[in-house]
């Protein structure tokens, strides 16, 4: 059941940080079903912290987070996964010493139905053919771009309503960035899945986003449509 205003995710006035270190202050944002939303901002602006709050890896000092109609402000990441969220961190998001198949199975850790796991693995390998070709190889031997594809594949194994990606463009070449982002676009359209992406790569993000936010020093300083963001010529003052 979605909340009355039709948002899948609603973050309102959230303040959070680590001990005394305040990282985000009074942040509000939302994601609608099937929408691709980008959060941009300089290094250290609080983008990853925001994702951690939403995924319930970090407790929030004040504010509320509503996902799929229910407040998750006091929930845990185990429960958020069960309720249809996935989170792919920016660094080392895969298990290097396991094969592609094992990685994907771990991605589906919370799924009980063996047949469903098999079907979804097939889907993921269709989506990223390279994973199918190298299904029995160790993930640690893959290139940065391939590891990134695998990590997105792992997130898809739970068939999330909301997929959150932390800097998917980090450490991969520009052509792979374009390809990965195009795949994300397709996925969202096909499955009606919402995607929330945190990025520093403004250009890559604005090519696929329906809407973007900009965080600066822990505060939301901009919200605009993807179209408007693509037209924008000057970003400096937002960073």
């Amino acid at each position: 059941m979605n909340s009355s205003d039709g948002n899948l995710l609603e973050v309102s006035d959230v303040t959070a940080g680590y001990n005394k270190r305040r990282v985000i202050t009074g942040v509000s944002m939302n994601v609608k079903p099937g929408e691709i939303v980008g959060v941009l901002g300089h290094n250290g602006a609080g983008k990853t912290t925001l994702l951690k709050c939403i995924f319930r890896m970090l407790s929030i000092e004040s504010g509320d987070i509503v996902f799929d109609g229910a407040s998750i402000a006091k929930s845990s990441s185990v429960k958020t996964v069960a309720s249809g969220m996935s989170f792919t961190p920016s660094e080392r998001p895969i298990f290097r010493d396991l094969t592609v198949e094992q990685n994907l199975e771990l991605g589906a850790h919370s799924v009980r139905d063996r047949q469903a796991i098999k079907d979804r693995m097939g889907e993921v390998m269709e989506l990223f053919p390279i994973l199918g070709e190298r299904r029995t190889q160790l993930a640690g031997r893959f290139s940065g771009g391939q590891q990134r594809q695998l990590s997105v594949g792992m997130a898809l194994m739970v068939q999330p309503k909301l997929m959150m990606l932390d800097e998917p463009s980090l450490g991969i070449s520009p052509t792979v960035v374009t390809k990965t982002f195009a795949t994300i676009r397709e996925l969202a359209a096909e499955k009606g899945m919402s995607v929330l992406i945190v990025e520093q790569n403004v250009k890559a993000m604005t090519t696929i986003a329906d809407r973007v936010y900009v965080l600066r020093h822990g505060e939301m300083v901009l919200e605009e449509s993807g179209d408007a963001a693509r037209e924008r010529s000057e970003w400096w003052h937002l960073f």
């Binding site: 005394k20 202050t25 463009s169 520093q200 790569n201 822990g218 505060e219 400096w236 003052h237 960073f239």
Partner: protein, 591 residues
């Protein structure tokens, strides 16, 4: 009477050993499980030094009675102190180099257990499992001090009380001196000391030595008083008991240790009087249980560090305004010939980690008396350059010049003393210390940081300390936080903590100040205050170079900027000049 005398002696010995360990454990934050074996090293050393020489008239073959050097008791006491001091230096060398935290506990534990083995088998010195007997008592005139006879037991208890008071005074004096301030900084933020130009090695080694020297001296007195002893007297259980006393009483507070020693030391006789022989198994249960409960309920100890701070607060100094502080500080500001050379020149700096090139030949200059920002996308090498300038990393190639002088490859301490001080992204302030102490530790050339000055020139030390504190107060006043001087830094807001870190930089007297992300993590409401603080550094004539990710803040703060990407300088100029270049925008935001 003699019975109570013996109990008092036991408690006083435990107390002295614990108070001296508190210097190491509480002030310097280094846990040692070897206090008991060092106590034993002192005892056996003293015994061998004081026992009579082997002559025809002195028959060493009497079972258990040894022979030695025949020194007078006071010389044997000094000898024991020196030997344990040196033994501790040997133990602590690896600790000072790289063994920290839990590994130090294991290391000292190994010394304790290994030492016990050596004591048991080294019959020539320790007499093996049977130990040594016949150790002569201390004699002053016709009075003897030992636990062999009733009246002399009471006399020794009084002597031990005097010694304990002296030990407490010494440890308190050291702990609460500028030297103690170094130790506390070492405990809380080890990397800060070199960054303000002070080597952490000497104070750490000395503290290991002093703690052990006191244990050795007490060991000698123990040997003289008992007349006989075996290696069993210096087991691991005693080391654990000593650590327990310190932890129970409160680390970093000598008075807590006194309370702890009385409680744990007094438990034993009380139990054996009330429960009798059955008390022995219960003792361990009570000790262990008490520690577990304490750790859960009051981990800081019965009388925690800074428990008396509130009483000291009374003395309020006249508040200084930032303007007055500015005037006062500008007088002591170090000066260079203006315009002779740029404050900082970096030429062809390179650094790789494995195959990854972090900085690939960066060259730029930092103008004197200006605020210069290093900007660029993530991974541009900004912090790595900071680390090379300050000596944390040695550059693979290239040079760093400070006012024309080549400082490439010098140590962190040397570079700081040449006049470059840095702050850290994660503030690295000492939360358990007062705001004033956090800043005072950075003031250069403090007489009280040397032990010889503390002992032999107390007046000079006190005078210098007064000047140091005044200096620290001025630095705090410049940022408008001198009213918080006596608060613990841990109680301040993050914005104020950042200001304390900047005040600490200022207190070093360095000409070039490197700030690593001064505003990150600061509440938006307090950011302006921090930026104001950075500008005041410039107004004082200091050269500031900062890394800051928010271009928005750089625009407001910096006079000049250096744009880096992948470890190479792409452009230098004013911030506005740089952000008008399309190539830089493409690099920053993707194209």
């Amino acid at each position: 009477m003699a019975y109570y005398g013996q109990i008092a002696i036991n408690i006083l010995i435990l107390l002295s050993l614990s108070v001296s360990l508190n210097l190491l454990l509480g002030y310097a934050g280094r846990v040692s499980m070897a206090q008991s074996i060092l106590f034993g090293v002192g005892a056996f050393t003293a015994a061998r030094l004081v026992l009579p020489k082997l002559t025809d008239t002195y028959n060493a073959n009497v079972s258990g009675v040894g022979y030695g050097m025949g020194w007078p008791w006071w010389a044997a006491l000094l000898g024991a102190i020196v030997v344990t001091f040196i033994a501790a230096l040997v133990i602590s060398l690896p600790a000072v180099r790289q063994v920290k935290g839990e590994y130090l506990i294991l290391l000292t534990l190994a010394f304790q257990l290994g030492g016990q083995q050596v004591m048991t088998v080294w019959e020539a010195v320790t007499g093996g499992p049977f130990g040594v007997a016949g150790i002569p008592a201390i004699k002053i005139g016709s009075m003897s001090f030992s636990t062999v006879k009733a009246d002399s037991t009471v006399r020794f208890a009084i002597l031990m009380l005097i010694v304990t008071v002296i030990v407490i005074a010494v440890c308190w004096g050291i702990g609460e001196s500028p030297f103690g301030r170094l130790l506390k900084t070492l405990r809380e933020q080890e990397s800060v000391l070199p960054s303000v130009g002070k080597s952490p090695i000497r104070p750490e080694l000395l503290t290991f030595g002093i703690t052990a020297g006191i244990a050795g001296g007490i060991g000698a007195l123990f040997a003289f008083s008992q007349g006989a002893m075996t290696p069993v007297n210096f087991g691991l259980d005693l080391s654990i008991l000593i650590v327990s006393v310190v932890v129970l009483g409160g680390v970093g507070n000598i008075f807590g240790t006194i309370v702890g020693a009385i409680i744990l030391g007094g438990l034993d006789p009380i139990l054996s009087n009330t429960v009798g022989a059955d008390a022995i198994p219960w003792r361990a249960v009570i000790y262990g249980g008490a520690l577990v409960v304490m750790m859960m309920v009051r981990p800081q100890g019965l009388i925690p560090e800074g428990a008396f701070r509130r009483f000291k607060k009374g003395k309020s100094t006249e508040e200084m305004t930032p303007a007055e502080a500015m005037e006062s500080l500008s007088r002591v500001s170090a000066t260079h010939e203006v315009g002779s050379a740029p404050a900082l020149e970096v030429y062809g700096l390179k650094k790789s980690f494995g195959g990854l090139v972090a900085v690939g030949g960066a060259s730029f200059t930092i103008a004197e008396g200006k605020i210069t920002a290093l900007i660029g996308p993530n991974g541009a090498g900004k912090t790595t350059i900071f680390n090379m300038i300050t000596g944390t990393f040695k550059p693979d190639e290239g040079t760093v010049k400070l006012f024309g002088e080549d400082i490439t490859g010098l140590s962190v301490v040397d570079i700081a003393n040449k006049g470059i001080a840095r702050s850290f992204q994660d503030v690295r302030i000492c939360e358990q210390m007062t705001v004033l102490d956090n800043v005072a530790v950075a003031v250069p050339k403090q007489a009280g940081e040397g032990l010889t000055n503390l002992i032999f020139r107390p007046l000079k030390t006190r005078k210098v300390e007064r000047a140091t504190r005044e200096r620290a107060l001025e630095c705090l006043a410049l940022f408008g936080i001198s009213d918080k001087a006596n608060d613990l830094v841990g109680e301040l807001s993050y914005g104020d903590q950042k200001l304390v870190a900047i005040a600490r930089l200022l207190a070093t007297d360095a000409d070039v100040l490197l700030l690593d992300e001064p505003t990150s993590g600061v509440d938006p409401a307090n950011v302006e205050g921090v930026m104001q603080g950075v500008r005041r550094l410039r107004d004082l004539g200091r050269t500031v170079c900062l890394v800051e990710h928010s271009v928005h803040f750089v625009q407001q703060l910096a006079d000049r900027a250096v744009f880096l990407d992948q470890g190479i300088v792409l452009a230098e100029g004013t911030v506005d000049e740089l952000i008008n270049q399309q190539e830089l925008a493409d690099l920053y935001f993707g194209s």
